[in-house]
């Protein structure tokens, strides 16, 4: 039979709430889930509050009771440093729930020279983390160890049930200890009140009457715990941090310093047969400013590519205007960089990224060529295009840096009334080209409230100066009115398709009082 060591921190939800700063120490406190008390502080217990009480019942027993909602996340979050502290001492820790862990007792007992010594070592590890009250039960089987830990009083916190004595220890325990209220009620009505009495029932009869679940509880009660321990697999520590002392203020210096770190990240990953397809890079400057950003990779990161990302992010972060398109989080850096952190965010098995025997085909070559151009010009210089929904021409395309994922906020399959009819113009100007559109008398063409033109357009010329192009044929004005409810993003414009005497068609837009050429059908 497996010797199990159970470490139990009484009232962990209450302790977690106190450690999290949600409540003060010493006040009567109860943590409530679904209107039932899950855990209460010793002050509340002294007033008669117990687990399982209704909230109103508990408050009537103790009017000063502070009631907190149960927060499972908080319990786990605050318990995990304790688990790390225990894992530093013993291997194979199983977290049953926050506040309750199981360890195989054999190894620690041999190492520390006895079960009691091992138990005290683990207790003192928790005490160093600030948890003074922890109970330890050591017994044959996890179930018995759990009950032994709960049975240990605060002044003698280690309860050891000698090997072979588990059945004798369990016999006087009430059936409620099985933590199965339905079964406990039924057994009570049948006149079976302790685990010893339950264990004396023939196993076949129990299985016939109560099914598999009952048979399992019967095995527990007769100290034949069928469960083994399932130790937690400690999460991989893949994050790498580089402290820069003295802090560096030049991009190329930081990039140079980070090279070793990038090598290390990729080596650690390949040691676990993993590759990173997304990483998060964080900087901290001397003044405490933080800058973080996630980077995606169409394949997997190599060390040199991580260094490139560090360089791009740093030059983007130190740029005065926040011109970078890839949403950086946090404010820009204002001082020299003192700390660089690289966290692999999404991982994939190395086997999925092995190059084939004859190379991975043309796409691999394309990626290398584009990555070279990116390291030359910057991440945002190499773009891939996608179509998107929208009314204006600039909205109807989404340009994403090579390697990033496109986020389409305007779906393509909506009707988009007001969008231009096909064919789309082949040349869409990246910036506005102001023009002057005139009628036969040489006056600027205007559009009134009822969408009437002040005169038929006869020619247009670039405002910067240039020959007037006579307009041969035209159509419009086509109004475009968007988001009138939002003053910041509202847009009101009129569009005109014209063909000049050279046979080239243009899209002219009137916004406010000024005309500009948006696109050319060349």
């Amino acid at each position: 039979m497996l010797r199990a060591l159970c470490l139990w921190v009484p009232d962990w939800p209450v302790l977690a709430a106190v450690r999290d700063g949600a409540a003060r120490v010493g006040v009567p406190l109860a943590v409530v889930a679904a209107n039932r008390v899950v855990a209460c502080s010793s002050a509340a217990r002294a007033q008669g509050v117990r687990r399982g009480h209704r909230r109103r019942e508990a408050q009537s027993l103790c009017p000063a009771l502070v009631v907190l909602p149960h927060d499972d996340d908080r319990d786990h979050r605050l318990f995990s440093p304790l688990v790390d502290a225990l894992e530093a001492l013993v291997a194979g820790v199983q977290v049953v729930r926050p506040g309750l862990v199981m360890v195989g007792a054999g190894g620690p007992a041999r190492y520390y020279g006895g079960e009691r010594a091992a138990a005290l070592a683990l207790r003192s590890a928790l005490a160093e983390e600030g948890v003074s009250d922890a109970r330890v039960g050591i017994a044959d089987g996890a179930f018995t160890a759990d009950l032994a830990a709960r049975d240990a009083p605060a002044d003698a916190p280690v309860r050891i049930v000698p090997p072979g004595a588990a059945a004798a220890f369990l016999a006087p325990q009430p059936v409620a200890a099985l933590d199965d209220p339905d079964l406990a009620t039924l057994l009570g009505r049948l006149g079976v009140r302790t685990l010893g009495e339950f264990a004396q029932l023939p196993a076949e009869a129990v299985r016939d009457r109560f099914g598999e679940r009952g048979a399992h509880r019967h095995a527990l009660a007769s100290a034949r715990d069928p469960r083994g321990l399932v130790p937690r697999i400690p999460p991989l520590d893949l994050e790498r941090v580089l402290e820069l002392e003295p802090p560096l203020d030049r991009v190329d210096q930081v990039a140079f310093a980070v090279r070793r770190l990038a090598d290390e990240v990729v080596e650690t990953l390949s040691g676990h047969r993993l590759v990173a397809t997304a990483i998060r890079i964080g900087f901290r400057d001397e003044l405490g400013g933080e800058h973080e950003r996630a980077w995606l990779h169409p394949r997997s990161f190599r060390p040199s590519e991580i260094v490139d990302r560090v360089r791009w992010q740093l030059s983007g972060a130190t740029r005065t205007a926040g011109a970078a398109t890839g949403a950086p989080t946090g404010p820009d850096l204002r001082a020299a960089v003192s700390r660089v952190r690289i966290v692999p965010e999404s991982l994939d098995a190395l086997a999925h990224h092995e190059p084939g025997l004859w190379g991975a085909g043309p796409d691999e070559r394309v990626h290398h060529a584009l990555a070279r151009v990116q390291s030359l010009l910057g991440h945002e210089a190499v773009l891939t295009a996608q179509r998107s929904g929208g009314r204006s021409l600039a909205e109807r395309r989404v340009l994403v840096p090579w390697g990033d994922r496109a986020v389409l906020t305007r779906p393509l399959d909506r009707p988009w009334p007001g969008a231009l009819p096909q064919p789309a113009p082949a040349t869409v100007y990246a910036s506005r080209h102001p023009v002057a559109v005139v009628d036969e008398r040489g006056e600027t063409v205007r559009v009134d409230e009822r969408l009437r033109l002040s005169g038929s357009p006869a020619g247009f010329a670039p405002s910067a100066g240039g020959a007037v192009r006579p307009i041969v044929s035209w159509a419009g004005p086509w109004p475009l009115e968007e988001r009138w409810w939002d003053p910041a993003r509202a847009r009101r414009a009129h569009r005109l398709q014209v063909v000049d005497s050279g046979g080239v068609a243009w899209l002219l837009v009137l916004e406010g009082a000024s005309w500009w050429a948006e696109a050319k059908y060349d």
């Binding site: 179509r387 109807r396 395309r397 113009p425 044929s473 159509a475 419009g476 014209v498 063909v499």
Partner: protein, 263 residues
């Protein structure tokens, strides 16, 4: 070579039905063209493509206007500044699976490109290469099948020659928007006429253009009338084929026969 002595008589505009003399002249023209094709093939640097130049799959409406019947791998073409013409030239290779790169054209209309038949998944844009446009073009041409570049500033002869040899080695096609030394052909777009627009009514539907190809090797420019885009956003040829591909094939064969006779 006696056959070459006939070349001054070659007049490609001899129409059909001009009597037996015209028929004889037509045959002479064929022979001259065939022999020129043969000489051309012998002058090629690579052995494997001596008779069949490696061609990019080109849109059929444009293919027979180009010398050799399509865009050649490893060659550079000069294109007049027209995004639509560039898209039409890219449409064929892109639809057939080539990656396309567009360098130095921030105004490249993505929506029109897709309508013309480009696959946006295999389209890469480098809108602002700045002074490094030549380096960028060279590194992109290493991996991408077709690269369009709008030169930022003039390039030196040595740099152009280096790029040309890199293209030949990699088998990528370069389309240069604007002038370029040592091009395979110059492709220009003229006589554009849009239809669908009245005075104050309608909307643009289709456009008729003349695409003219001038190359070092053909005695006179080849031009064709195209609908680009046609009302279905595609590209269509309006005039009958100037020289169907089958005829071109037989011209090569005939050249081989003529060569045998001469030798």
């Amino acid at each position: 070579m006696p056959a070459l002595a006939l070349s001054p008589l070659a007049s490609p505009d001899a129409g059909p039905g001009a009597g037996p003399a015209a028929g004889a002249r037509l045959q002479t023209v064929d022979t001259v063209q065939a022999l020129q094709a043969r000489i051309d093939a012998l002058q090629r640097t690579t052995l494997d493509s001596a008779l069949m130049p490696m061609l990019m799959p080109t849109h059929e409406a444009l293919a027979d206007l180009l010398p050799d019947g399509g865009l050649k791998e490893g060659a550079a073409y000069s294109v007049t500044p027209s995004s639509a013409l560039v898209m039409a030239l890219l449409a064929g290779p892109s639809a057939a699976g080539s990656w396309c790169g567009v360098v130095g054209m921030p105004e490249f209309g993505v929506e029109a490109a897709e309508a013309m038949g480009l696959d946006l998944d295999r389209l890469v844009l480098v809108p602002h290469p700045g002074d490094q446009w030549l380096t960028v073009t060279a590194s992109i041409a290493d991996a991408l099948g077709v690269v369009v570049v709008k030169p930022g500033r003039a390039a030196g002869d040595a740099a152009v020659a280096r790029l040309a040899s890199r293209l030949r080695e990699r088998g990528s096609t370069l389309l240069v928007v604007g002038a370029w030394p040592q091009t395979e052909a110059m492709i220009s777009l003229t006589e554009s006429r849009w239809s669908g627009l009245g005075s104050g009514s309608g909307c643009l539907t289709s456009r008729e253009v003349t695409v003219t190809v001038t190359s070092r090797r053909s005695p006179r420019p080849v031009s064709g009338r195209l609908l680009m885009p046609d009302p279905e956003q595609g590209i269509r040829r309006l005039d009958p084929r100037a020289m169907p591909r089958a005829a071109a094939r037989t011209a090569t064969e005939r050249a081989r026969e003529a060569w045998r006779e001469v030798g």
